[in-house]
Symmetry: C2
Amino acid sequence: MYEMYNKWGDIVKETLKQEVINARSLSHYRDIAIVGMGGSGIIGDYLQVLAYGSPRRIFVIKDISLPQWINKSVLVIAISYSGNTIETLSAFYQAIDRGCEVAVVASGGKLLEMATKYGVMHITISKGLVPRAAFPALLYGALKILWSGGITDIITEEDAKKALTVLNSAPAMNRSQQIAEFIEDYVPVIIADTRYAPLALRFKNEINENAKMPVKVEVLPEWAHNDIVGWELGSEKFRFLLINPNDNSLYQKFIEFAESYFKSLGFSVYKLGLEGSTLFEKLMHGTIIAGFTSLLLAERRGVNPLITESITMYKEFIKKIFKN
Amino acid sequence: MYEMYNKWGDIVKETLKQEVINARSLSHYRDIAIVGMGGSGIIGDYLQVLAYGSPRRIFVIKDISLPQWINKSVLVIAISYSGNTIETLSAFYQAIDRGCEVAVVASGGKLLEMATKYGVMHITISKGLVPRAAFPALLYGALKILWSGGITDIITEEDAKKALTVLNSAPAMNRSQQIAEFIEDYVPVIIADTRYAPLALRFKNEINENAKMPVKVEVLPEWAHNDIVGWELGSEKFRFLLINPNDNSLYQKFIEFAESYFKSLGFSVYKLGLEGSTLFEKLMHGTIIAGFTSLLLAERRGVNPLITESITMYKEFIKKIFKN
């Protein structure tokens, strides 16, 4: 599976070449709902934090149905790598029924078929990847939808391209080795500030799926208002991975507080310093490290990262429900 | 601390009598941002799911600053039990600076002082409680703000009052005893569907703060797309508490799937069936059970639920940062 993560740079380049079908202006949409699950749904979380400094609002919907307030005034982007995710298809049909402008990112499946049938904006991304390894195709695919619609205030194509440099895999692999060694025999607790919460979540999901390990995620400053107390009596089972934003923000101080807190209790902490000069680059840097870490953990634990049996079981189950 | 939770019914009644100062019409606001942290911030999560069937959108902000898109078109409700939560005060000043309509729920402190100074809508709730035990005062306080402003499509006063019956503490205590016994020596994993995610989070925070235990929360259907795989290789340290919505929804089937999944792996599962006939009542029922469970766990573990040393440490730390 390493080769899929190793070619993220190429995947980005391929995706950037891919044509957006039925392109139309989207720039009048202030509200954008991103619908998707798992490795596809996480794209919504990334776009949400990227949009924090823009006038637009990103809503992340990981559910079988849409909240009542989603109507024509909201642009809906449905993302499913396979194109057959039942929750996403269900939400897609609802959005169409409500008369929303819908756009689609998928490699194939029913979702692309429906996108063609309804004449909605869509982009076809590279086939043959595992959904979670298709992260850059899904992310840049969604960005291409936005750019083709004239939305450039979340991130520009130029700035997104700059992130390619942080995908250089050699130094990332080195950090990943250290982290895998550090958390291997523990339940990892990944802590980030609000801006990097999606990265912490992605890190968790990667370790869940590739390495078959449970993981816990916490977000600062909220973490310091409740979860922090849970560690007062000790923790032999857990180890703490702090996402260090490497900047001069207040959040940086929050992370340092968490570090000194855990150390004062005698716990082991690994601080992952993100590289890059923008939020986008740092997110991408952390994401490739998360990918490699999860693969290294799979190797150490002797499990096959490609196979996720439980998800297959769930997909069989939900297929049956929707047939009834 | 039991007496504080035991008198939730009375706290609701007191709160309902409390006057909203500077009341004005709010019904033209489609977008409402609820700002707060910890035991105060969780009110935003509850209101968000309650609003899913309404035309209004609730944004939950647990942060020191507001996203860029929060402007005059968004109503901001700042909630802080003490009235001195630094993150909330910081977001409050930002909202004022941006010319937003702001409303305040607090028992005292700087936030109430500023509410008076700026002439914004506010309600003063009962003093002398521990913030997390003040849950009904905070929730019904926020609701009174909405009702006084003419917003009754999230929940009406009549429907909110009906929930008082599920706060009857005897049967709740019985369930709490069972749950406390079930999870005492483990790391609890609390799983709910999207509608009950705030309750799962509240449950976690209560156990963190009162019983000094770490807890993990997962939400269905997203849980089945990544986290589910983390349990494939076993779990001696964890035990699973499923929030059973007790209805005929698809979500009910998701919970049943999770139950059979865990059982097939040989894990112990406790299914908490929520009582009441509406989402609101079920949320309240689960919330009182969460409270009692956390107190019983504190007793069993020999810790004082009233004292949360680490949060005090954090508050000292953030006070210093904001002074610089």
